[in-house]
């Protein structure tokens, strides 16, 4: 199926929200791929970070939602410090996560984590994970 792109998709609510929450100009990205080249979690991602921002530029919310990429981002900010165009991709990733989380859809649930694991994990791990991955 061909993807329909129009001025409507380019200026969709999703694009506006991502821009607002992240404070980043999505169009500043010229798709050089440096973010993906250096991303430590990339090996586990189905789409590369630069592809996520490209999909966001095009307003293709569903494709982004179908990808695990933003949930695998560890907010290490390697992309942020190396982006030649000064795009804070860490913030873009956070914005996209928040759009889902604010619909009360959690990525991790405390209930789903085995008891043993919880007792073994330091607070710092649990708190940060819940902060990043739950509503």
């Amino acid at each position: 199926m061909r993807i329909q792109i129009s001025s409507r998709t380019l200026q969709s609510d999703f694009v506006k929200k991502v821009t607002e929450i992240s404070g980043q100009d999505l169009l500043a990205c010229n798709q050089c791929g440096k973010c993906s080249a250096g991303c430590p979690m990339c090996f586990a991602m189905d789409l590369l970070p630069n592809q996520i921002i490209r999909l966001a530029q095009l307003g293709l919310e569903e494709d982004i939602a179908a990808s695990k990429t933003v949930w695998l981002c560890a907010s290490c900010l390697t992309c942020t410090v190396r982006c030649p165009r000064g795009v804070d991709l860490g913030r873009v990733m956070e914005a996209i996560r928040l759009i889902t989380l604010r619909k009360n859809i959690d990525y991790v649930g405390a209930a789903k984590i085995p008891k043993d694991t919880i007792s073994e994990l330091p607070q710092i791990a649990l708190v940060s994970s819940f902060r990043k991955h739950t509503a």
Binding site: C32, G33, K34, C35, S36, A37, L48, N50, P84
Partner: protein, 906 residues
């Protein structure tokens, strides 16, 4: 604006001798007008001369440029001023007055034949701008084979920090450079240009040079003192011919009183100036404190004897057993000037009860006795009071004479001890104990026999006048050390007995002398060394003797004593350490502790030849040229003159063309790429590809000279990158990188080339076809994405990139990486733009009068632009602009005067 009075100066100034400047010069000169071509470096040619073949035709730039360069050099209408810079510009279109600084190459170019004998003997290697660091060049150099003019230039950057730090100004870099080449006798000659004491100072100096040594910021300072000692030992071992006496060209006799380091240094300089010099020494043998104060295990007598002999062989007469009671009388004996350097030989007293008890002795007396070969007997337990070198020497001597327990009592902390730290360490190793933060309060005796010494503990308070923390007694902390002998070494003062009243003294009890000229209050009498400074180190005494010799020479010539003194030395402040790998300093081999017992054999054993050469090679050659003057000797035409100075000239021209070219941003600006020998910028790789380059066109990587089989080329490094300050496209990297990839493939057919790119921007004539050929015929693989990180992994460089076309991360294991760094305006030309008063953009590129319609004119009428100084561009565009700017100049020159208005108003 009205018409300009007088005529237009129909002469053009071209600034920058790259391909654009050369083209502009030739066009204007061919049209019959005079041209002055100013180039910052010693040769014209610019960056183009550094390249291998150029795209898309793969011409050899040396082949196509050399005829043009030669034409510039020989053109009757072109005056070529290389190694020159524009200092100031005034006036306006039609009549600019330009002041040009002609930097001295220290070679008279009209005499230089370019034979290269000088570079062959030069011991110093420096960074080569032409080879871009891929190989080094000598400090006297011709930039490259086809250089125009084909002459040599000396690179001097000022005085090395070691040389500036040395009170006597010994040229350490000079002798170290010669040692690195195995030229030991020549190295010793460099020391002897300043002073005769390589062996002595090579052993006992406090080596401030090492404190200042720039190598210390990389790993450890150079072992400067040890190297100096090495060349002296080398000669001593090999034996030397007797020196030919200096011809005495002067009538005026000079008397030197005292044969210590100050006196002998003074005599040495005076005899070499042709004065008859007589040294008067009260003791039976010459040498002063060097002989009677420093123990044999630290300074063997044969070393000292040899160096005193050397001074005598030059013609200095030394009269021993000759105490001079009244220096004033020397004038009556026919001496025209006198130098006093009798030292500070009287021990200071402690001023505590019991000080005169038998068994309490003074360090200098003790050392003198031992050094004279007289027997000194000590008890089993010895305490030495003091923290200077005399104290440490006395303690180590006491140990050697068989004392069981030797303790140094010092009132401040170990850090404050004035003795050389290494000596203190060795003393401890030999079993000398340190009792710091303690001061004696009284000497105890029973029945006139010394039994002990009472001390008080101290703590450190606020810093005193000397900057060291003041020791404060701790109340009630008295303690007693049982001893058989006490040696006092708390300092010496000048023995003023016998000095005539006319000689003024200071409050500190030293002889009063001018700190610069060393004149005393008595006409014709000069003084230096410990006598004036109070107890100090040997090198300062030598320095004083030398300065006094200079004063005596001036005095006897009736010249001004102060003019130009003290000499201001222009110290090299910034020394590049790029690519310098840490390597530890040569350790001094030491005599085994066991063998030191009861023995006065020398403790420090000295370096062997191989170690000395290796150590000398660690020198960073801070000053560039080391002023060993080997080149002067080698030059048959006598063209080299290290004393030459810059010259300035004023010219009047009607028009100026600015063609100052570009540079590349430094690789190190991209901090996520780990610095590595095998990561090169585009121009460095051109040198490696170039048939006339350092590898003769064989592609070898710098780290291990192996042929690289996998090579990554990376575009847009630092360009199109606002975060690194360069938002613009560098415009030529797409083309030269694919050309380099192709040339690499031609050189290494079984190798693989990769190009990381963002967009392929090859818009010139024949360029796109070139790219396709590289891909199809040479298998060059394009990967679309920027590289995020490069690091070394064993033999390989790991390159982390991405291929955004497939959405895959890429890791390459490469042998060599070439970075297409951003083109920026040559930073060396930044100041010039201000001098010319022309506008530049935020990146420093020259702004055109109109971006579309007046691309060759700057914001100032009569100043035109050519080449990459205006913005990144390729060779044909630069040449076209060169011709274009020339035509602008010619149009101006063909006008009658009133029409100048047009040039100004447009």
């Amino acid at each position: 604006m009205g018409s300009i009075d007088g005529s237009i100066a129909r002469k053009a100034l071209i600034i920058g001798g790259g391909v654009a400047g050369i083209q502009a010069s030739l066009d204007i000169a061919d049209a019959g007008y005079e041209v002055i071509l100013v180039e910052r470096t010693p040769s014209i040619g610019g960056h183009m001369l550094q390249y291998s073949e150029v795209f898309p035709t793969l011409d050899c730039p040396q082949c196509i440029m050399t005829p043009k360069m030669v034409e510039v050099g020989q053109h009757p209408n072109i005056r070529l001023l290389t190694y020159s810079e524009v200092e100031s510009v005034s006036g306006k279109v039609g009549n600019f007055n330009v002041r040009i600084r002609r930097k001295t190459p220290y070679v008279e170019w009209d005499k230089c034949t370019g034979c290269g004998e000088c570079a062959a003997v030069c011991p110093v290697e420096v960074y080569s701008e032409y080879e871009r660091g891929v190989t080094a060049q000598k400090a006297i150099y011709k930039p490259f084979g086809q250089a125009v003019p084909a002459v040599f230039t000396v690179e001097k950057r000022g005085y090395s920090p070691c040389r500036v730090a040395c009170p006597a100004g010994v040229n350490a870099q000079g002798y170290i450079a010669l040692i690195s080449q195995g030229k030991f006798p020549e190295a010793l000659e460099v020391v002897r240009r300043t002073m005769p004491f390589a062996g002595v100072i090579g052993r006992v100096c406090t080596h401030r040079c090492e404190t200042e040594c720039e190598r210390g910021t990389v790993d450890e300072p150079m072992a400067i003192r040890t190297l100096k000692r090495f060349i002296a030992d080398y000669e001593l071992k090999a034996g030397r011919e007797k020196v030919t006496p200096v011809e005495k060209t002067r009538q005026e006799k000079v008397a030197v009183v005292g044969s210590g380091p100050a006196g002998l240094a003074c005599a040495y300089d005076l005899i070499r100036k042709g004065y008859p010099v007589t040294v008067f020494e009260a003791m039976p043998v010459a040498g002063g404190l060097l002989r009677y104060g420093i123990p044999e295990y630290r300074l063997p007598k044969n070393v000292l004897d040899n160096e005193i002999d050397y001074v005598q062989e030059l013609g200095v007469e030394v009269r021993t057993n000759s105490r001079v009671e009244d220096p004033g009388k020397l004038f009556a004996e026919g001496y025209k000037a006198v130098f006093l350097g009798t030292g500070a030989g009287m021990s200071q007293k402690m001023n505590i009860p019991g000080e005169d008890t038998p068994g309490v002795i003074h360090a200098l007396d003790f050392l003198k006795q031992v050094n004279s070969g007289d027997k000194a007997s000590l008890g089993r337990r010895v305490v030495v009071i003091g923290g200077g070198n005399a104290a440490v020497d006395a303690a180590r001597v006491a140990k050697r004479l068989g004392a069981d327990e030797v303790t140094i009592v010092y009132r401040r902390s170990r850090d404050e001890m004035p003795a050389v730290a290494e000596e203190v360490d060795e003393a401890e190793k030999e079993g000398v104990r340190l009792h710091i933060l303690a001061a004696p309060t009284q000497v105890l005796s029973q029945g006139g026999k010394l039994t002990g010494i009472e001390c008080l503990r101290m703590e450190l308070g606020e810093p005193d006048a000397s900057g060291r923390r003041r020791p404060i007694p701790v109340k009630g902390s008295e303690f007693i050390l049982d001893v058989d002998n006490v040696i006092i070494a708390i300092g010496q003062v000048v023995d003023k007995a016998g000095l005539p009243e006319e000689l003024a003294c200071t409050e500190r009890g030293t002889l009063s002398a001018d700190p610069v000229t060393f004149e005393t209050s008595m006409a014709g009498v000069f003084a230096g060394g410990d006598m004036v400074s109070g107890p100090a180190d040997v090198i300062r005494a030598i320095a004083a003797g030398k300065e006094a010799a200079e004063s005596i020479d001036r005095y006897l010539n009736g010249a001004d004593l102060c003019e130009g003194r003290p000499r201001q030395l222009n110290k090299v402040e910034e020394v590049s350490k790029e690519g310098v790998l840490p390597r530890s300093r040569a350790a001094m081999p030491m005599l085994d502790l066991k063998q030191r017992e009861r023995s006065f054999a020398e403790v420090e054993l000295g370096l062997d030849e191989k170690t000395a050469i290796e150590e000398a090679k660690r020198c960073l050659n801070c000053a560039g040229c080391c002023e060993c003057f080997s080149c002067e000797v080698a030059c048959e035409r006598k063209a080299i003159n290290h004393e030459l100075a810059d010259r300035y000239e004023e010219v009047e021209v009607g028009a100026i063309v600015v063609a100052t070219g570009f540079e590349l941003t430094p690789v190190k600006a991209i901090s996520e790429f780990e610095p590595d020998l095998d990561i090169l910028d585009g121009i460095q790789f051109e040198r490696i590809l170039c048939p006339g380059g350092p590898t003769a066109g064989v592609v070898l990587r710098p780290s291990d000279a192996k042929e690289p089989k996998e090579v990554a080329f990376i575009s847009c490094v630092g360009s199109r990158d606002p975060e690194h300050g360069v938002p613009y496209c560098s415009r030529v990297c797409c083309m030269y990188l694919v050309k380099q990839a192709m040339l690499y493939k031609h050189a290494v057919p079984d190798g693989q080339a990769y190009i990381f790119y963002m967009d392929i921007r090859t818009t010139g004539k024949g360029y796109e076809e070139f790219v396709q050929r590289a891909v199809e015929e040479d298998g060059v693989l394009y990967l679309r994405g920027r590289v995020s990180k490069i690091f070394r992994d064993g033999d390989k460089l790991k390159v982390w990139g991405a291929d955004t076309l497939t959405g895959k991360r890429i890791e390459l294991s490469c042998d060599l990486v070439v970075l297409g760094m951003a083109m920026v305006p040559d930073p060396a030309a930044r100041e010039l733009m201000r001098i010319l008063g022309i506008n530049t953009d935020m990146h420093g590129f020259i702004t055109e009068a109109h971006p579309k319609l007046r691309p060759l004119e700057s914001s100032v009428p009569g100043i035109y632009i050519a080449g990459t100084a205006q913005g990144p561009k390729d060779i044909p565009d630069s040449v076209a602009q060169g011709s274009g700017a020339a035509s602008k100049v010619l149009a101006l020159f063909s006008q009658q005067e009133p029409v100048l208005e047009k040039a100004e108003k447009r």
